[in-house]
Amino acid sequence: MAFKVVKPGLSTTIQDLGRPGYFHLGIPEGGAMDRFAMRVANMLVGNDEAEAGLEAVFMGPELSFEDDTLVAVTGGEMPILVDGEPRESWTSFVVKAGQVLSFGFLKSGARIYIAFGGGIATPSALGSRSTYPIGALGGVEGRAIAAGDVIPVGKATDMTERSLDKALLAPVETPVSLRVLPDLYWHRLTPASQAQFFADEWTVAPEADRMGYRFRGGAPMEFVARDQPFGAGSDPSNIVDGCYSYGSIQVPGGQEPIVLHRDAVSGGGYFTLGAVISADMDLIGQLQPNTKVRFVEVTMEQALAARTARRERLDKIRAALG
């Protein structure tokens, strides 16, 4: 089984749930930015949730199928077409051999996820098929898909069409709130600057990708005065190069916060003021440039409660689709 890439879209990559275990060498976990959407797409086609699918950002690909394939599209809202006929999102449907899957313009969100019954069957690298272009790992020869690529798909176990009750999806709020646990190098900021970070409204900058999301529009940060430690570098935002957490927020020069995401650099010399909690990482993957965002301070208890709520939502969906 296979499908052929007619048009690749903007930057469409093969992703699964990532390759944990190599961050200590600078190779990030990677995998779907919006894990929730990737998992549900796989559930809808009867796959294991860890199977590989496609992640397309802002623009969908055009794919032509060589065999009858069960397909589901989740994530951002983008019209889905099979030979020009509309299909539902968060619903699986059969694309017949010879038919073409294509997409209209993005209506909301930033990324769509396409799952295929049987899962994408490209070779895995370090335990994952996820594409990490900087390290030329996974995907198709370590890169995004390109016109003419023929992507192999595994053997599907069932062709049952399923549909998700959209009431089970989390409601989308505006402005978007990203919950942050302040810590790490939070003490480097003055109390006034700490308060300002949470008070300001930020917008997603154009420099927003799988490695990190940059935000602008808030006030520049003020640092607690100190003699810079040896080896850190002279800027007050510099530290002796340390490890970065997934979701951690660095602010080079105190100017524009960057939230590190799935393809994060593993370390570096900028202070980090805390991290976006694990429950809100998926949400970042659906933010378009210019989206208005507020960072909301939470405690560890609140972070863990949000994590539990996210897991329970997935459990409910599993039960509904299982």
Binding site: P20, G21, F23, H24, L25, G26, I27, A125, I134, G135, A136, L137, G142, L181, D183, L184, W186, P229, F230, G231, A232, G233, S234, D235, N238, I239, V240, D241, G242, C243, Y244, S245, Y246, G247, S248, P252, V265, S266, G267, G268, G269, T272, G274, A275, V276, I277, S278, M300, A303, L304, R307, R311
Partner: protein
């Protein structure tokens, strides 16, 4: 040294052994990192070491963040008593200083630099008190460097110069990071040297380029067939200046599989190093003779 513990969201504990860089802090961080690994704490998914810090990633569904942090803190006494000795290797890394590729790149990003009128080498030589670029290059490669961290991107080593602190070269990073750096660029930012393992963004001052591949996802390079990443923390590097002809020869040899890096097994003992840096370094470098 004062160890500081913090949370990176709900999935990471970040342990900073010291705010400033020193080999003492590196060794305490390494011992504590090893103690955490040996303790087999349930829920730990990965441990990432850095220069003077490390980070533990864990699954909070398995162990609560407070308990995770408490378990790491319990091990601190072990780390302080830990051995500051390492069985490791010294590797000769050929470098073509003042090469055309980093020169082209640094000219392209001059407006992001502290001194747009000078090259990165001219600037670094001047602010570190050297009369000439040649004298600065000599100081850069004369003594060995210690790999104190691997990361940022795939397999990139951070290196710490094995000389007295007052002799250590220090430079600021570019005012604004470049969007491009040639693959295998050798540079320095703060007190840390580095080799860019892949082409990409970067902020370190650029001095030269090595013909040696240090990250190979295809694992076809002869010395990277066992694993795609060349460096690990604790490795010791001796730079060897080479010219264009030598660069071309080595690059071709890496490609056709006939290149073998010069490597010798050595022991690095921090106390011995602190007691007599010159003779410790001389012994380390001698190990490369006859390889």
């Amino acid at each position: 040294m004062k160890t500081r513990y913090s949370f990176g969201g709900d999935e990471h504990v970040y342990v900073e052994v010291d705010e400033e860089m020193s080999l003492e802090a590196f060794f305490v961080a390494l011992s504590l990192r090893n103690a955490v690994a040996e303790a087999n704490i349930p829920g730990v998914t990965e441990i990432c070491p850095a220069n003077a810090s490390f980070e533990v990633r864990f699954n909070p569904d398995v162990i609560s963040p407070d308990e995770m942090m408490a378990r790491i803190k319990e091990l601190e006494h072990k780390a302080e008593a830990g051995e500051k000795r390492l069985d490791t290797r010294i590797i000769e890394i050929p470098v073509y200083f003042q090469d055309p590729w980093t020169h082209e790149t640094l000219m392209r990003f001059r407006e992001r630099h502290q001194d747009p009128e000078a090259t990165d080498l001219e600037y670094a030589a001047r602010i570190n008190g050297y009369d000439s670029v040649e004298a600065f290059i000599e100081a850069f490669h004369g003594q060995p460097w210690f790999v104190s961290m691997v990361g940022f991107v795939a397999g990139l080593p951070f290196l710490y110069q094995l000389v007295e602190r007052e002799k250590q070269i220090e430079v600021p990073k570019y005012l604004r990071p470049r969007t491009d750096t040639p693959k295998h660029t050798v540079g320095i930012g703060g007190c840390f040297g580095c080799i860019y393992s892949v082409r990409g963004a970067g902020g370190y001052q650029m001095f030269g380029i090595t013909p040696m591949t240090i990250f190979d996802p295809t694992q076809t390079v002869s010395y990277l067939q066992d694993f795609m990443v060349f460096f690990k923390p604790g490795d010791i590097v001796k730079w060897k200046p080479i010219d264009r002809a030598e660069f071309d020869r080595i690059e071709a040899a890496v490609k056709d599989g006939s290149y073998t890096p010069r490597i010798a097994q050595v022991t690095f003992d921090l106390e011995a190093f602190n007691a007599d840096m010159a003779s410790t370094n001389a012994k380390l470098m001698e190990a490369l003779n006859g390889v």
